[in-house]
Amino acid sequence: MTQTEQKDMSPYHLLKRNLVSRVIIVSITPLILISFIILYQFKISYHEKVEDHLEELIRKHKQNIDSFLGEKLSDIQALAKSHTFKEMSDESFLQDRLNILQQSFGRVFVDLGVINAEGKQVAYAGPFKLGQAQYAKAEWFQQALQREYYKSDVFLGLRGLPHFIIAVRETWKEKKWILRATIDFVAFNNLVEEIHVGETGFAFILNKEGKFQTKPLQEVRPDSEPYTEFLGYGEKAREEIHIVERKDDSGNKNIYVAAFLKHGDWLLVYQQRASDAFSDFTNTLKIALAIILVGGVSIITMAFVISRRIVGLISKVDLEKEMMNEQIVETGKLASVGELASGIAHEINNPVAIMVEEAGWIEDLLDEEEFQEGENLDEFKRALKQINTQGKRCKEITHKLLSFARKTDSRIQDVHINEMMEELVALSAQRAKYANVIINTDFRGDLPCVRVSQSELQQVFLNLINNALDAMGKDGGEINIISRVRGDNIVIGIDDNGQGIAAANLNRIFDPFYTTKPVGKGTGLGLSICYGIIKKLGGEIIVKSTKGTGTKFRVYIPISGKREMESASKVNNGSKTQIK
């Protein structure tokens, strides 16, 4: 049973699966394709844009820092060139110069110092008490002596504070001297610190050895990639700005922008989390993914819902079609069997008529005197009578067969169902008494009349009542007959508590010639004639039966008769008076 059910379900299952998969593929594929193509293009162009922007930013700052350093250098150079060592050795004069510088450039210049060739500071102007300091061994001093000018890396120096210096070498009376200026670290640091983009973007400067020249906002290990890579670049690469994307130690992807400053001595590094730098893209991506997800889910949901609905409709229509086909087949079967039956009946009728006539003739002849003495006369007469009886039985059968397909005495008249049923019950009462069966009736009083052929309807109910009586065993039983109105129909119920009908036989009981009665007891035409009559009226016979507990018949008769019945009645009404 389950296997057949599965078999029945499978085409719908398959159809549903096909529908769902096709709808999903057709809807989601373009959605995903378009989304990913656009996102990919957007990502590329957005990356380019961000990188261009960062490159430009760094380039500008490189120029700013370079020009800052250059300006400071040229200020100090001008100062050294325009005054002699003697003048500059005067501390008050030097203080004046520092004041002038500070007035014009702010507190960028922290202090000034004049150092002679031996490394001894001969004059100092500034906040620290560094007078007479000895620089002969300081590295910057060594470097500065060799060159026209020198810009140092940031170092702690004698003061213990981070700073860097610009030193200019001049010659006075064959002797070299050096003018040294300390550049305020905070001012310089600000220059770099102000390169601050987004939440994680910051910049710092490294020297050739990878030491910090400014304070990075976040902790950075300068001995790691890609800083070492940047620092390893050759002379040529030092003019360009480099952009790379790398993962740092903690696994975050960063974007690094590097530019060389101070003729390649320093490296300006800008770094930012990629997620931060491309946050707009990330947001867009998130929105797009959310839309794809929501869209996808709703497409899938809709695909399932719609497919289920469509497949449901189709299966319903199929079921209806199947039922209709069954009905058509059933009706067609009955009709064709009816045609066949009437043909056969008619053909049999004539030979039977001849046989009966021949028997009659023999009977006639037996009346003649010569036979009166015959010892078997009575036997002959009995045999002939039997032939006559059986001939009549044949006639009855053929007439039943014929009425199965033909309209017989089908005069249409107003029929009171209840009155008719009472007559029928009275007719059956004698038989019921012998069969030990009680017939209960429950008729609803206000049933409307129906325009039908009374004799046909009588045939139907007599048949059903007889069947109910036949279904009872020796112990008898009960038959309940009810009449009701249900919508546009009158419903007659005939219920018995007899032996019931086996489920296997239940769908065959309306087939002609189908009978479970012993041979000779039933023609198998009763119910199929009933079926034909009720169908012709536009009604319905429904049977429910359980083996062992009984059978329930429900006959539905439409209150407003069918049109064809009315037209049929015209023909028959014309001959009404002449039919006996």
Binding site: A345, E357, G360, Q578
Partner: protein
């Protein structure tokens, strides 16, 4: 009264023959015909036929058609239709066209006898009335 003079028409030869024997035994004058055409020819030769027993269903010219011809040419002759159950409607149609009555096959012979007697009586009464009328007319004609 003379025994009715009957024409029995059916395509089933054994039926006609046996029926003829039985009717003859019951003092009827019976002649046979085995088709509609045959029946009309026999009628033409035997103008004094009282009753035609006519089967509805016959090959060729059927009972209804034959009935039409009979009523047209020999209006006084009464016709009893014999029918199988299936042709009750045609029998009814036949009665509309002037048949005396109908019987279903196989029929009870006594019933048939009664019908034949009735039909023959009707036919003869009818004939008598016509004769009477003719006599009256002749008398009145002479009287003038």
């Amino acid at each position: 009264m003379n025994a009715p003079f009957v024409l029995l028409v059916d395509d089933e030869v054994p039926f006609v023959e046996t029926m003829t024997k039985r009717l003859t035994k019951r003092k009827l004058r019976v002649i046979m015909a085995f088709s509609g055409q045959d029946a009309l020819e026999k009628l033409d030769k035997n103008r004094n036929l009282d009753v035609v027993i006519l089967d509805v269903k016959m090959p060729g010219m059927d009972g209804i058609e034959t009935l039409g011809e009979i009523k047209k040419s020999y209006p006084l002759t009464e016709v009893i239709m014999l029918t199988g159950h299936a042709t009750v409607e045609s029998a009814i149609e036949g009665m509309k066209s002037g048949a005396f009555d109908y019987l279903m096959k196989p029929c009870d012979l006594e019933e048939l006898m009664v019908k034949v007697e009735e039909a023959a009586k009707k036919r003869r009464d009818h004939e008598d009335k016509i004769k009477e009328a003719q006599v009256k007319e002749a008398l009145s004609g002479h009287g003038v």
